[in-house]
């Protein structure tokens, strides 16, 4: 029997003034609603110039090759799960964001920045499937990423994503775990695990190991039992492994990638590699 979801209340709708076909529920998000109030034409143009100003081979080839055939639509979960609404197709997202920015050379109003940010942040997962369905293999995700960077430079990012990005800026991990908290958690889990596996160790900052495991920060924060489970597997498998607690570089979930905050992205990756080099690890294992 098909279960029909019940609509509890009629939601207010947002109809884009730029693309009347774009009809969505109204949402409240201070990351978008408040931040666009601070924009000025100069700021917008400057951010545009920083991202799209210099012509690069990839931007040029992607924009100048797309023949607007719509074949990429078939790939997109957003398009397929919204009754094939044309405004969800990958090329439509590029049309409503990058084409519009490029056409107007960055001279756009805050209202359009709102529309663009909503499209690129809340209606695309950067999954890359569309590129595998496009007959030219156009890297649509790359373009969406650039538009996200444009929005990020302007600070127009959904609140939750921006907060997560700030956590990384401040602590290099997703959930504001301090170094002492982290060490404490790992040692606690070692102790817990010992009841089940004799002599269980969670080796910390050990030199010359085979494997370093970098968890997601959510594991020591919310899924603590992962730590002792993984430790047991390593120990029973006889792997010479360790976890790292120094320099705050241990969370492998590089979320700033989704806001295209290049600076923080780089700090994270660099930190992870530097720690690996310091302890001369041969392999890195990351939680995915």
């Amino acid at each position: 029997m098909a279960v029909k979801p019940q609509v509890l209340e009629e939601k207010e709708v947002y109809i884009s003034p730029y693309f009347p076909e774009y009809v969505r529920p109204k949402i409240e998000d201070p990351g978008l609603d408040e931040t666009i109030k601070r924009l000025t034409p100069e700021k917008i143009e400057k951010a545009y110039q920083a991202v799209f100003g210099k012509e690069t081979a990839r931007i040029k080839a992607i924009i100048e090759t797309c023949i607007h055939c719509g074949l990429c639509a078939e790939a997109c979960q957003w398009y397929l799960s919204n009754d094939r609404d044309p405004t969800y197709s990958p090329v439509a997202k590029v049309k409503m964001s990058a084409w519009e920015l490029i056409k107007r050379k960055g001279k756009v109003e805050p209202g359009l920045v709102y529309h663009i940010a909503r499209v690129v942040f809340t209606e695309c997962n950067i999954c890359h499937r569309c590129s595998l369905y496009c007959p030219f293999g156009l890297d649509i995700t790359f373009i969406i990423g650039l538009v996200r960077r444009f929005c990020f430079l302007l600070g127009v990012v959904p609140q939750r994503m921006f907060e997560m990005n700030q956590a990384f800026m401040a602590t290099l991990n997703q959930v504001w775990i301090s170094q002492s908290d982290y060490i404490d958690t790992l040692m606690w889990r070692e102790e817990e695990g010992m009841y089940e596996l004799k002599n269980l160790r969670v080796p910390l900052n050990k030199e010359g190991v085979e494997v370093i495991w970098y968890p997601l920060a959510a594991e020591p924060k919310a899924g603590v039992y992962h730590i002792d489970r993984i430790a047991k597997i390593f120990q029973v498998a006889g792997v010479n492994w360790a976890m790292v607690t120094i320099n705050d570089a241990w969370d492998s979930s590089n979320m700033p990638m989704f806001t295209r905050d290049f600076f923080t992205m780089q700090r994270i990756v660099k930190g992870l590699y530097e720690n690996a080099a310091k302890f001369r690890a041969k392999k890195l294992v990351l939680t995915e």
């Binding site: 690069t56 040029k60 090759t65 055939c69 044309p86 197709s89 007959p135």
Partner: protein
């Protein structure tokens, strides 16, 4: 009608304009490819990343009908686009009438298509164009991302093939007028290739190479 049929127009289109069209087409294309490669050299990650083997596999899968998943998902589209594109490239090169012109001017000629094959293939190209126009009008997904230029590209192809065909059978307009129109559209098409999104003709090989190389690095395939 007088001007359209005139020998003056014919000699202009068959003389300087042919030269101009081919020169712009050839040098424009070289320029476009050259500038793109040069730009790519300035990006740190593009050229060193290219995986030729993956690229060639990807070309083959997308240049053979139904060899990629999306070609299989869209069978009608695939049939039309392959008839259209193969016709667009092979019919003018191997057409008897075109060969005769090359022979007349340069004394060179090569293998030609039998008349019936050329005619049928031309009709397929015309049907393909109508199919593309229909999609752009009636498929909401395609309509949303279509602009005037997209129609113009298809119409340039449509008119070139239609006028060539009609001239051959001397239908609708007097032969000379139709032929002049045909040559004009053919030349517009050649000139348009380097300057419009019709450059996809060669950018195809670059954009595919890039995506194929990325897909290979993720240990997946892009077809």
């Amino acid at each position: 009608m007088g001007f359209l049929e005139s020998v003056a127009l014919y000699s202009f289109l068959r003389g300087p304009m042919v030269w101009l069209a081919f020169i712009i087409f050839i040098f424009g294309s070289i320029y476009r490819i050259y500038t793109l490669i040069n730009l790519a050299k300035k990006e740190k990650v593009v050229l060193p990343f290219i995986n030729i083997k993956a690229a060639i596999k990807s070309y083959l899968h997308w240049l053979i009908p139904f060899a990629s998943r999306n070609w299989r998902l869209k069978p009608y589209f695939t049939i039309f686009t392959f008839l259209f594109h193969t016709g667009l490239i092979f019919v003018p090169i191997f057409l008897y009438a075109h060969n005769a012109l090359w022979y007349e001017s340069w004394g060179i000629s090569w293998w030609t298509l039998p008349e019936i094959v050329a005619d049928v293939w031309t009709i397929f190209v015309i049907i393909g164009c109508i199919f593309f126009i229909g999609r752009r009008i009636f498929d909401p997904t395609v309509r949303f991302v279509t602009n005037y230029a997209d129609f113009i590209f298809v119409f340039i192809c449509l008119f070139t093939f239609l006028t060539g065909f009609l001239a051959h059978y001397q239908w609708v307009l007097p032969y000379k007028a139709m032929l002049n129109l045909h040559i004009l559209f053919g030349e517009i098409m050649l000139i348009a290739i380097p300057f419009t999104r019709l450059t996809h003709m060669y950018y195809f090989f670059f954009t595919r190479a890039w995506m194929a190389s990325q897909a290979a690095s993720w240990k997946t395939k892009d077809w």
